[in-house]
């Protein structure tokens, strides 16, 4: 497998997890979570600290990253989001409150990096996590393991939402909170769980991302535009759309830019960040509800000559 494709696959899987988390939190609590950035960075620092101080491969620490991300989500929910939701805060207020939380987390990250630098004599501000990786079937293990982690996690999430009582209650609350409340579903618990899963997905995404790009204290901050782009591209009203959107944006950033630079020359590389965003903008112009709003079945029918028409 070409190295750029392998990196693209890891990065896209990471972005799918992170973007899915953003969509989940938006659907459940109307909150664009800016703290996703630092939660992702903390996910990276969990696996970095584990690998350096605890030993073993970074994958051992992925569950811990998820748990810590979930804990940060709970803190955000009870400390900020819940009180604001109770006061019926508008979306912009909810969003800005998470930005404040993100800045606090960023400061904590910087303090932690200072501790690692000055007390542990480590070099935590620029880390290539790939050095802790190993080879599997002739490629870096991350190329195989991380897409698998993403698939397994997202399948488990799907089964949870579809097959368990709490999952069904969660979907019901997301779709119609008033009706769900009237049916005796505890919306508070549902929202709290959404923050656990959303925060966990951010941390998991950040941990996975650091296997493809350099880990820095601003890893999440630099990637947050793409996380949001993935969520919006996929469609903010569909969890699966958000996940798919993240994956497509991630792959475009690598595969798309690589192909374009081969055709038009290396100057295209300067527009690396613009190309996936351009794709997102173009798609939203045609399909305003994102990937999830595309009538795939009708598209396929039309493609094979059956009449039906496409409604956007």
């Amino acid at each position: 497998m070409a190295p750029w494709l392998a990196t693209g696959l890891i990065y896209a899987s990471a972005l799918a997890l992170a973007a899915g988390g953003i969509t989940l939190l938006y659907m459940s609590t109307r909150t664009f979570n800016f703290a996703h950035a630092s939660m992702a960075t903390i996910g990276f620092y969990v696996i970095y600290t584990g690998s350096v101080l605890g030993g073993g491969t970074p994958y051992r620490y992925f569950p811990l990253a998820f748990l810590i991300g979930g804990l940060l989500g709970v803190i955000c929910y009870y400390g900020l989001n819940r009180p604001l939701l109770k006061r019926r805060a508008v979306e912009i207020t909810l969003m800005m409150s998470t930005l404040g939380y993100d800045l606090i987390l960023l400061s904590v990250i910087q303090m932690y990096c200072d501790y690692l630098t000055f007390s542990r004599r480590l070099f935590p501000r620029r880390v290539s996590m790939s050095i802790y990786d190993f080879e599997l079937l002739g490629v870096s293990a991350a190329t195989i393991i991380l897409p698998l982690v993403a698939i397994v996690f997202l399948t488990a999430l799907h089964l949870f939402l579809v097959k368990t009582r709490f999952g069904v209650a969660m979907r019901a609350t997301i779709e119609n909170p008033v009706l769900a409340g009237a049916s005796g579903i505890n919306a508070d618990r549902v929202y709290m769980l959404a923050w656990v899963i959303g925060g966990g997905m951010a941390a998991l995404g950040g941990a996975a991302m650091s296997m493809a790009i350099t880990g820095t204290p601003v890893l999440g901050m630099n990637s947050i535009p793409f996380m949001f782009a993935g969520a919006i591209f996929g469609g903010l009203h569909s969890l699966y759309g958000g996940i798919l959107g993240g994956f497509v944006i991630g792959m475009t950033e690598y595969a798309g830019v690589f192909y374009l630079s081969q055709i038009f020359g290396p100057w295209v590389l300067g527009y690396r960040m613009g190309i996936p965003l351009l794709l997102m903008a173009a798609t939203l112009l045609i399909f305003p509800r994102g990937l999830a709003g595309i009538p795939w079945a009708a598209l396929v029918r039309n493609l094979f000559g059956k009449k039906g028409g496409i409604r956007v």
């Binding site: 070409a2 190295p3 750029w4 392998a6 990196t7 693209g8 990065y11 910087q110 990096c113 630098t117 000055f118 004599r121 070099f123 501000r125 620029r126 290539s128 790939s130 050095i131 493809a212 790009i213 350099t214 820095t216 204290p217 601003v218 890893l219 630099n222 690598y254 830019v257 690589f258 630079s261 081969q262 020359g265 290396p266 100057w267 590389l269 300067g270 690396r272 960040m273």
Partner: protein
């Protein structure tokens, strides 16, 4: 009731705050020396982290030495050194400078990168802020009359040093890859210009990348394609070289390049942005790649040590604090702090007056005490002369000095030939 209580509490808090802040103003000024603020605006995060950390420790040492000297000589002022992070990011650097200027600061040590130095240039000029960079080398910033001093030489000298190194390696076809910022653009141009009348041919496709980039698989794949193109045209691999002008993103770049065996067979050339990179040494794959490709980086060579040089003290201090060998720019940081101190002591905390006398003060002070050697600044406020050390990563994963470029003679004097 609850709301009333809260309102009363808030009101009391505001009254207390105003009352508290008013008290000291009414009281007589406290006796003791005046504090003058000098801000060290350094890249503690971002692509120049190693250099920023080194220089922050050196700036602290210099400020402590300055204050000890001021105390010993019964001076009526003390230096208040503040260290802040510009994140190797131009907008962040400007925001921080604006903020500190609002607090009354007029003297800045740093920023270290030319990109940040350029970003703050207009603001500094408009507000009479004097700043001195230990490491900004972009030729485009060599301007007379501005408020920027640079205690390092311009890349107008480093470009020919890298060009000479490339010729010494026997390279006939060179591929350029560089970070697309003020510094990278300037040094790439200076190197390309120096190669213009030589036998070295520059590959027509130029790989200029976004300075914020953290993954380089696409760039590495393109370089591999270009090398493949040259090989198909009959060029021998040992005649192909790659000049990379980067900061500490060199480590992930080499990790990405390592996936292409052909790129491991070429000679790679770096610059002062990569020499002494702790990130490179700390990455086993990248450091192995650097050893295999004889990755040679240039770095301004400290001048001959002066009589009471602080060179060893500075080096030992950084080693004790951070457990690593410091870089040559950190010695410039020491001299900047001291030059500011001596100048402020002479004419007061007045940036316009200090600007006038700084070259003379730096020249006089560094003749005896300078950590980086004797500091002579030219008309543009940049260090006037420079030779460049050639640094490679050796098998013990240590940056080793294997020779130096003599700028006056335009040749490399090897202590351990590597080609």
């Amino acid at each position: 009731m609850k709301k009333k209580l809260l309102a009363f509490f808030m009101f009391s808090l505001i009254v207390a705050a105003f009352a508290g802040s008013g008290c000291p103003r009414r009281a007589a000024p406290a006796p003791g020396p005046t504090e003058h603020t000098v801000v060290a605006l350094l890249p503690l995060t971002g692509a120049l982290t190693t250099f920023g950390e080194n220089s922050s420790k050196v700036a602290e040492l210099a400020a402590a030495d300055v204050n000890e000297w001021l105390t010993k000589n019964n001076k009526n002022w003390r230096m208040n050194l503040v260290i802040d992070d510009c994140a190797t990011d131009p907008p962040t650097g400007l925001r921080k400078m604006t903020s500190w200027h609002g607090e009354g600061a007029r003297f800045f040590v740093g920023p270290m990168s030319s990109g940040v130095a350029r970003e703050v240039l207009a603001f500094a000029g408009a507000n009479s802020i004097l700043y001195a960079s230990p490491s900004s080398t972009a030729p485009g910033l060599a301007m007379e009359g501005d408020w920027l001093f640079r205690f390092c030489p311009s890349d107008a000298i480093q470009g020919p040093a890298i060009a000479r190194l490339i010729q010494e390696a026997g390279v006939e076809h060179l591929i350029f890859v560089w970070r697309g910022d003020t510094w990278g653009d300037g040094l790439q141009k200076a190197t390309a210009d120096a190669l213009a009348n030589t036998a070295v041919q520059i590959y027509p496709e130029l790989v200029r990348y976004d300075p914020g980039l953290e993954a380089f698989t696409v760039q590495a794949a393109l370089l591999n394609d270009y090398v493949g193109d040259l090989v198909r045209k009959g060029v021998s691999v040992d005649k192909i070289g790659i000049a990379i002008i980067a900061f500490e993103e060199i480590a992930p770049f080499f990790t990405a390049a390592n996936a292409h065996p052909r790129l491991r067979q070429l000679a790679w050339f770096g610059s002062d942005g990569t020499a002494f990179s702790a990130a490179l040494i700390g990455d086993p794959t990248a450091s192995r790649f650097a050893i295999d490709t004889k990755f040679a980086s240039t770095k301004a060579r400290p001048e001959a040590l002066v009589a009471q040089s602080n060179y060893e003290r500075v080096a030992q201090h950084v080693y004790q604090e951070l457990g690593r060998v410091t870089d040559s720019y950190s010695f410039n940081t020491y001299d900047i702090v001291w030059s500011f101190a001596r100048a402020i002591d002479e004419v007061g905390y007045d940036s316009a007056k200090v600007k006038e006398i700084l070259p003379r003060v730096a020249d006089e002070w560094s003749r005896t005490y300078g950590a980086s050697g004797h500091v002579v600044l030219n008309a543009a406020g940049d260090r006037a002369f420079a030779d460049y050390n050639i640094l490679v990563v050796n098998d013990k994963l240590v940056w080793e000095n294997v020779g130096y470029f003599d700028s006056r003679a335009d040749l490399i004097k090897w202590t351990r030939p590597i080609y």
